[in-house]
Symmetry: C5
Subunit: 338 residues, 5 copies
């Protein structure tokens, strides 16, 4: 479980094709001075739940009060156009290895809300957890002098979205592995522990789904957005990341379909097992109950029971019993029960 | 259970940036005099089922007969544009702690129809229950000299909708708690009482759903409405409250999906339990029925049964019985039943 | 069951704001004379399955052959614009108290096809059953000198639709009552008779649904219709009746959802009952089968069974039996079966 | 089963308001000579799987190679506009009485692909089976001098579609009859043979559905088609046949819903039956197993069993047994099992 | 399982109406020289996972970096318009006979991603597996001097898509065969092995579905694409292949519906079998358990049991037993259990 920091941390990167400056600070005031310099600026805010610094940033970059409110509260993925800037909300997902995988209570996908605001020459990103998901991106900015530095804020925003969507595939794969495990054991060994595991998996998928569906819609809207802030080049890249969200969604829907089938298969396996058990009970009962009756019959204490005195009485009964068994077995054999 | 008053009560607030006047009355005539004064006016009517005062208000503000009819009857949430004013119907939901939570009969979400009519410089709200849901709003009007007083009737209408939608999240949370309780007990302890509880929960969700789905549609239409009564600023706020309704809807749909899974899991748990019970029955029966037959066999009273006189007859039978038990146990062990 | 008349009956009302004339006749020729008089005319035809009079009317009012065919055959609700007139088909539903409510065969919603044709200054309505559903409307026309008489044929058509849709709520309520009855007994007393009752209810709902869904669509089309025959005023009233159909539809869909849940709940109740029965069987069997074996063991007739002669043999066996019972009961108690 | 002919057969009808000429031939060359004469011409081709004559016709009337290919292969219903002519594919359905109705293997709806091509003054129809489905139409052409002869090729095409769609209602009715039969026996007598019958019915409905859904779409497109080949008059008739397909579709969807309910009801009936059987087993077992134990107890051969010598021992045990029975019966009675 | 080659292989065909040249090479440089010659050129690349040659090709034909990335990674079927060229991704499916058909683990549909890029006078196709799916196409190019050589790159692209979609019908047919096999055995012989087979089939269908749904969408978009690269003639052919994808989709959906029914039927068959088994158990038990009790009763060792000494005691008991049996059989017969 990632820890949530008490104080916000600001990572500021100022760059253009030839310039690169990186600073880290805990004071919002240190960020504001970059406002009007002739470079692209990227401010990343970790743990932005401090209202004071948010308001400072908002005032400096002219953000709408609703945007600040949305950053602080739980939102579904969306893209909003405020003319001077575009506001994006996304969900970063982490997969955590649970200690005990079979219990229904463990919920091993962790979520982080990432908010991105970008305007003509600035981009501000907010995330709540202290996990450095943008490190590869920062690395690319720092080392490459090429494409990414030449492009505008919209391309950087795309890169952020892309790295988050790429991470969904990792989650998908983990879920796929768990799914296959279940698949194997459902038919071969349908034990009760599978039930909460299927339930758990379904819940995780719904969780994933709730993050991806609105994201798809948001990226689609962003792609068609009538805004000067998004260049034609970036739109082509957005189409690509849109395709990725569709791929994730299709996989989830397939998993959903399959997990419904899985549960049905599990239920059928249970029925099969039950049938087997009851068949055994029936076979044993229908063979021995008549025999027990026969033996009970000749265990009666009537004084006048001629069979009892007959010298072949006992063998005759034994033969009769064997006959009963043989008939029963033949019956079961014909019914394919044995 | 909130009581429904016999007589309507009118709360009239007259305000602008610098002026604030609040009156309360039971006579509709007292409200009409505010009609043409140069301030914003908000008339709140509690329990409007008195046709007389409704018609007075309607005549004074030029309301369509269908609007008056809709206020008096049960409507689904909607927004209608009558050029001079906009008519909104919403459902306020209250959650009531039921005394006995497991019974199928208790229906612990209570509903109140709220109707809002706003024009250029007036807003009239109607609600049936005597619960003062607009108190925080009135408070904000009274104290703040700022934004809310400067904005028009559309912003006040938005604030009303917003406070009602915010309350849905409270209901959602309560339902979520009940859901988690059920979730815990379904697998660990699938007792019959869970059944009506799941059913009850589903019904409550359908109830909530019926209020939120049309509301979403209504707000969306209001946002895109071609009316001079809704300012651009307010449209942005409406987009925000629209997002909230979507969030509520998504949560409900997730709950629906999960509660279907829950029922399936419960049914599977039942099947598992049944299998377990029948396995026990089968184990006991298949072990003891053959033994009982054997003992019955040597309880027969034939005069010629050589085994009976044999000195090792009894121990031999006992050994035979132990053998049968051992074979059976081995069989069950291999089948993983014990 | 309403009887279908042999001969058509024509009720002709001629009116304007100051004029009102009502005639009843069995001859179609009597109706045709009203064609070109300067009043609104409403001809109501009961049981129009007489081709001759239909064709007369059709020729007089210039109706398309397909319209005449549609009046005579079973149609789904629809609205069609023929420029000079508008053709509407609706379904009137009646609820009939069935004598034996639980049987699957009784189908207690009865249906009547109502066709309405209205032009500039005439309206012709056709219905098959001899139930006077338009009596309240005729009453309003006769008594009121006001609104309804001033409005055109479109408003009269709206009033007809409205009175039919209003009747759907009556049907809905009846179905709701039946539903609640079932709901109560499903959990408390899940007897087999509930099964056909649920099935029957579902069928009735599908029946109702088949009438309302296309009606909604038809009214919506009528509302947006580009026809000079429908005034702006009437369009507002149509929006109102449209809202009513939506309300009916939403209620039906909720019932559908709930009745699926109901069946699932019923099936779960059955499973619960089965589990209970089988538990009892298992408890009795697992307690008494070992005891029976024990008693059978000492009922064997071997000559050399030392326990039999032992003075404490009998009490020892009794104690052993008690022990077995105690162990079993403890086991069941721990399993929470008893 | 209709036989598929080896050789194609051409029925050529040449007509206008005053002229009527009907020829039948096996040679495609005989048809081509009618190409440029000043009459409407209708060529009907039975069993067109002879590529040679198709190509001749295609060359003569300027048909696209894909059209010829589509006529020869299995297509879904569709309408395609090739400017000079319109190409329609439909499915004619025949209902065949199966000899053994309950077996899952019998599939008693038979299908025939009908292709129609009509241009300015010609119409060509193709069908594979040798069933004369257009006989009534030919009859109307031959006898009536009126409407149908005056109208163009589009009206004739409409008449063909109409006669095929009308036949769907016959199929619907047959399926409805089978459905009602099943409905009756599901609750009264849920025997295993119903299972494949329901399955079979579902399959037939899916079959029907696959023919009607795309047809609906096709007719709707044809109605809105921007082609000079379809007159305004015919469009009104197409709207009528469109309504018929909707009616068929709605009936199918209702059947689908009902047959799902039917299966659920059947499964519930099975569960009910199972419960009943197991209740009987449990009642018998729980009554007699304790009694058997008691009798076994006093069948033991211990030498010291004081009860055995007591003069009232036997009657006392009998009374005890009666008591056990009474208690058990009372228990079952209170549980409402008996 | 097709092997994936290590090195890419390039098959280059240069052609126009009168010219035809075919080369095969492993070096990308050999392909680039054809760039500006006045013929149509088709480069087919097998196993393109070598980044180096892809980049060479990309530079030569001006391909977007995202296109190259998409060729190398797993994509869903799509069509993208890059003005100078159109980029198509498809899935080729192969059916592999599995050695053991019933196991859940075998997944016998194999997939190959085919990417097609075509511009004004070039077409480049990429596929990963070394299966020569375009051989018939190459053959047609080589032999025919006619249509296919005269048409542009768009027609060749259509031919590729067509040959891939045609192959889907083969897969469909194989799945249909497997489905019918299952159908036969579900009712006649519902053994547990069917369960994983149904599950497996469902999974294969979902797999097929995931390839065809987006393909349909892609072809539809291609058909309506506003690009000079696609001629009117080709659009008609695309409409045809679009119809084929719809046909595949409809078949899949029908299979899905049917396989859900199949599973339900299987579950019902299981229930029927269970009922049958339990009926047998109940019949045997309810007949013999009372008899056994009776015989146990007269096996008791009380000294005072008058019946035992009575000369007709034994026959009387036998008669009593027969009576019990007769009553029971009559009961079962009336219940239609035997």
């Amino acid at each position: 479980m990632q820890q949530t920091r008490e104080l916000p941390r600001f990572t500021v990167i100022e760059y253009d094709e030839n310039h690169f400056l990186e600073t880290e600070t805990n004071e919002v005031e240190d960020c504001l001075i970059f406002r009007d310099r002739p470079y692209m600026i990227w401010i990343n805010v970790d743990c932005p739940r401090q209202v004071y610094s948010l308001e400072k940033l908002g005032a400096c970059y002219g953000l709408h009060p609703l945007v600040l409110e949305d950053i602080l509260t739980d939102q579904r993925p969306k893209v909003e156009d405020y003319e001077d800037y575009i506001f994006i909300v996304l969900k970063m997902l982490y997969y955590e290895e649970a200690e005990d995988d079979d219990e229904i209570g463990d919920f091993n996908i962790d979520m982080d809300q990432v908010s991105i605001i970008f305007g003509k020459n600035f981009i501000i990103s907010f995330k709540e957890k202290d996990v450095d998901i943008f490190r590869p991106l920062r690395e690319r900015l720092r080392t490459s002098k090429g494409r990414i530095r030449k492009q505008g804020a919209d391309y950087l925003a795309y890169s952020m979205i892309d790295s988050i969507v790429d991470h969904y595939f990792v989650i998908m794969e983990k879920l796929g592995d768990r799914f296959e495990e279940l698949e194997d054991s459902v038919v071969s060994n349908p034990e009760p522990g599978i039930l909460p595991a299927i339930y758990n998996l379904k819940r995780d998928m719904l969780f994933l789904r709730k993050s991806v569906w609105p994201l798809r819609e948001a990226i689609s809207r962003m792609q068609r957005m009538d805004s000067h802030l998004i260049s034609e080049t970036t739109r082509i890249y957005l189409r690509d990341v849109y395709d990725h969200t569709i791929q994730v969604i299709e996989n989830i829907e397939t998993f959903r379909d399959m997990s419904a089938s899985l549960l049905e298969t599990y239920l059928s396996s249970l029925s099969n097992k039950l049938n087997e058990v009851i068949k055994l009970l029936t076979i044993i009962s229908t063979i021995f109950i008549p025999l027990t009756f026969l033996s009970g019959l000749y265990g009666m204490n009537f004084t006048h029971m001629p069979e009892l005195e007959h010298p072949y009485g006992y063998p005759a009964v034994l033969v009769l019993m064997l006959l009963v068994v043989a008939v029963m077995l033949a019956y079961f054999y014909r019914k394919k029960w044995i």
